[in-house]
Structure formats: structure tokens, C-alpha cells
């Protein structure tokens, strides 16, 4: 393993700020996937998620004073930065983002595509839509807890709230998901298409 792989984030960041591109690449490789995944699940669309991921990493170089390693890890900082940028986008054009979500969830149906893939795609779309229906504050907590497997304490640091608030939002978010996805939870994993086939 390369020595640079073992360096702490703070050291890599300091070197990246001084112009060490290798250090920056190493940092980016370490943290890009969780940051992008979180932004993508928050916004439901690839292009804005890419923009947010890029802005998060560049802010590390441009505004080094914003990251305090004594308060949180670099990944927590990146989640928080991505979360703030996503909320800013929501505030700016909530309807536009919702429209993109719906547009992206159109399943690509090919005539010779296996039925299972179609069903899986449909189920995925249902999950995406259910998440998109939630308020951003509930969605971020659910995404961080269920997908990114962050602890409640970490989530509280990311969303700048106390643990009790996080628990409450998570509870309400999951209740909302249960309502939206009730037919899949109660009737197993069968999709609308399967149900329609059975009914037919």
C-alpha cells in the first residue's frame, strides 16, 4: 500500500491545499462515493448531485477555515456541506427538482428486456418516489441512517440538530415511507405490474 493511503485526512487536505494533486486525488477517492450517493438520493437526479459533489470538494480547497477536524470527521463535514447545498437547491427551485425526479424515474422499457429487470426498475422507482414525497429534513435523516449507515450522533452533527430531533424526524420519515410503500410491505415485494398480471 502506498504511504499516502495511510495518511490522515487532515494531512492530505493540508497537502492538497498546497498544490499536491496526488493528495487531493487520494482524498477525493476516499470520500467521493458517499458524498455523491447522499447528494443523489437527496436530489434524485444525477446532474445536480454531481454539481454538489464538486462544490463540496472545491470548498475544502477554497475555504479551508470551514472544516475543523477537532469537531467532526472530513466525511461528516462533506455530508453537511452536501446537505446544505441540497437544501439551498430545494429552497431555490423545489418544483423544478421534483419535476426532474419524476422525469428520471421513467423506466426505460425495452421490448426484449427481462421481466424481472422491469419489475425491479419499477420497484426502485416506487422507492425513489416515496423518498421524494418526504420533506427534505426527513429525507436527509432517512438517507443518512438507512443508506449511509450513519449513527444518530453523526447525523445530529451533520444536520446541526440534537439527537432527539433526529430520532423524531427519522420516526416520522419511516412512517411516511410505510404509508407510501404499504402495498409492497403488506403484500410482500410484488409490484403493481405483478398485481395487475395476477388480477388479469
Amino acid at each position: 500500500m502506498d504511504a499516502i493511503d495511510q495518511d490522515a485526512d487532515e494531512i492530505l487536505l493540508e497537502r492538497a491545499r498546497c498544490g499536491d494533486e496526488t493528495a487531493f486525488l487520494r482524498l477525493y477517492e476516499r470520500h467521493k462515493d458517499p458524498t455523491f450517493r447522499f447528494a443523489y438520493r437527496m436530489l434524485g437526479s444525477q446532474e445536480p448531485a454531481e454539481d454538489i459533489t464538486q462544490d463540496c470538494f472545491l470548498s475544502l480547497i477554497h475555504h479551508p477555515e470551514r472544516f475543523d477536524p477537532t469537531r467532526a470527521s472530513l466525511q461528516t463535514y462533506l455530508y453537511a456541506a452536501a446537505r446544505n447545498l441540497a437544501l439551498k437547491r430545494f429552497r431555490r427551485s423545489e418544483k423544478e427538482v421534483a419535476g426532474q425526479v419524476l422525469a428520471d424515474t421513467e423506466p426505460s422499457v425495452a421490448a426484449d428486456e427481462p421481466l424481472r429487470r422491469l419489475l425491479a426498475a419499477e420497484l426502485t422507482d416506487e422507492v425513489r418516489n416515496a423518498l421524494a414525497q418526504m420533506s427534505p429534513l426527513q429525507r436527509e435523516v432517512v438517507v443518512l441512517f438507512e443508506y449511509e449507515e450513519q449513527s444518530l450522533t453523526e447525523i445530529a452533527a451533520i444536520v446541526a440538530a440534537d439527537v432527539g430531533t433526529v430520532k423524531s424526524r427519522l420516526y416520522r420519515g419511516r412512517e411516511s415511507l410505510r404509508r407510501e410503500l404499504a402495498r409492497y410491505l403488506n403484500g410482500g415485494m410484488s409490484t403493481r405490474r405483478e398485481k395487475a398480471n395476477h388480477a388479469g
Binding site: 420497484l123 427519522l170 419511516r174
Partner: protein, 176 residues
């Protein structure tokens, strides 16, 4: 790590958070059907390019020299018209009082009057009694303070509106 497990355990074990374990597991497995794979390669290229551009940013004076400010055309037009108007005003202030054919108008406006008087005409006045009966054409100006001034080839700038006597006989004894 221990905290994390405690958090999750607290959440999953709490009746206030969830109803049954099976239902919660079903919800979790349902959510996991939405997979997001790695970042697209286009993002990698974008981030690296942006990092290089940020690092190799030219100094501020160099950016100032090549900086451009987009201005809407109407704003630029209004600005140019204001500039032109102020330039014209400045020019007019430097070259004031073009003489009118009517000298009274120029004088009452506080401008200067250049009298086309010859030496003979210009020497008339109460200090030359031998010339009092001579018919001369000369311009005398009476200011508000009562003083009478004769115009010579020099310019006079008057502070108040004068009375003008042009032509005819001038007799200082009667005019006073």
C-alpha cells in the same frame, strides 16, 4: 463504533420508533432496492479540472486586466448619453457669452460686451468737456450703483443690469 451500535440499537429497539421488527426489516430491504453506483467518470474529470484551475489561478492584477463586466445595452446607452451631456456642459462653461447682435441682451445676462469703439469715440465723457457738444456714438453704461462707465475695447463684466444709451447726444450734465 460502540456509540453507533447503541444509537442503532436504541432506535431499532424502541417501540416508539417502530412497530415490529419484521416490518422494519421489510422496509429496509425495500429501500435497499434503490442502489446508487459509483460516481460517473465525468464527475472525476470535472473535479480534477476544477481543482487544477483553482490552484493555478492567475494573480488578481492579471485577472483585473482581463476582467469583463457585462452591462445591459440600455444601461450602457444611458451612461454614454450622460457622459456626452456632461462633456458638452463643460465645453460651454469654458467658452461663455457669444455676443448677441443686441448688446443689451448680452449685458443684462451678465455677459461681456466688446465695444467696437474707435479712439475718438472712446475718449468721450465728463472728464473731457471740450467734447461734450460733439455728436458721438458711444455706449455708456449706468450700473445700479449710479456710476457711468464708457465701453472701450476692453470687456466689461457687469454684476447688475445696466441702462444702456446707444447713439444720440450725450450730455453728462443733463443725464446725471
Amino acid at each position: 463504533m460502540q456509540d453507533e451500535q447503541n444509537d442503532k440499537g436504541d432506535l431499532l429497539g424502541s417501540d416508539s420508533i417502530r412497530s415490529t421488527g419484521d416490518e422494519d426489516e421489510r422496509l429496509r430491504s425495500l429501500l435497499r432496492t434503490w442502489q446508487v453506483f459509483g460516481t460517473p467518470s465525468s464527475l472525476d474529470t470535472r473535479v480534477i479540472t476544477a481543482y487544477r484551475r483553482r490552484l493555478h489561478r492567475p494573480p488578481i492584477w492579471q485577472r483585473m486586466l482581463t476582467a469583463t463586466i457585462p452591462v445591459p445595452a440600455p444601461v450602457a446607452l444611458v451612461f454614454m448619453m450622460l457622459l456626452l451631456a456632461s462633456a458638452l456642459l463643460a465645453i460651454r462653461e469654458q467658452h461663455p457669452a457669444v455676443l448677441h447682435s443686441d448688446p443689451a441682451a448680452a449685458i443684462t445676462n451678465g455677459g461681456s460686451l466688446k465695444a467696437p469703439a474707435t479712439e475718438d469715440h472712446a475718449t468721450a465723457g465728463p472728464t473731457h468737456p471740450q467734447m461734450q457738444k460733439k455728436q458721438i456714438y458711444v455706449v455708456f453704461l449706468q450700473t445700479d450703483q449710479g456710476t457711468i462707465q464708457a465701453l472701450t475695447e476692453s470687456d466689461y463684466r457687469l454684476n447688475s443690469s445696466p441702462k444702456i444709451y446707444v447713439g444720440g447726444h450725450f450730455n453728462p450734465s443733463t443725464e446725471r
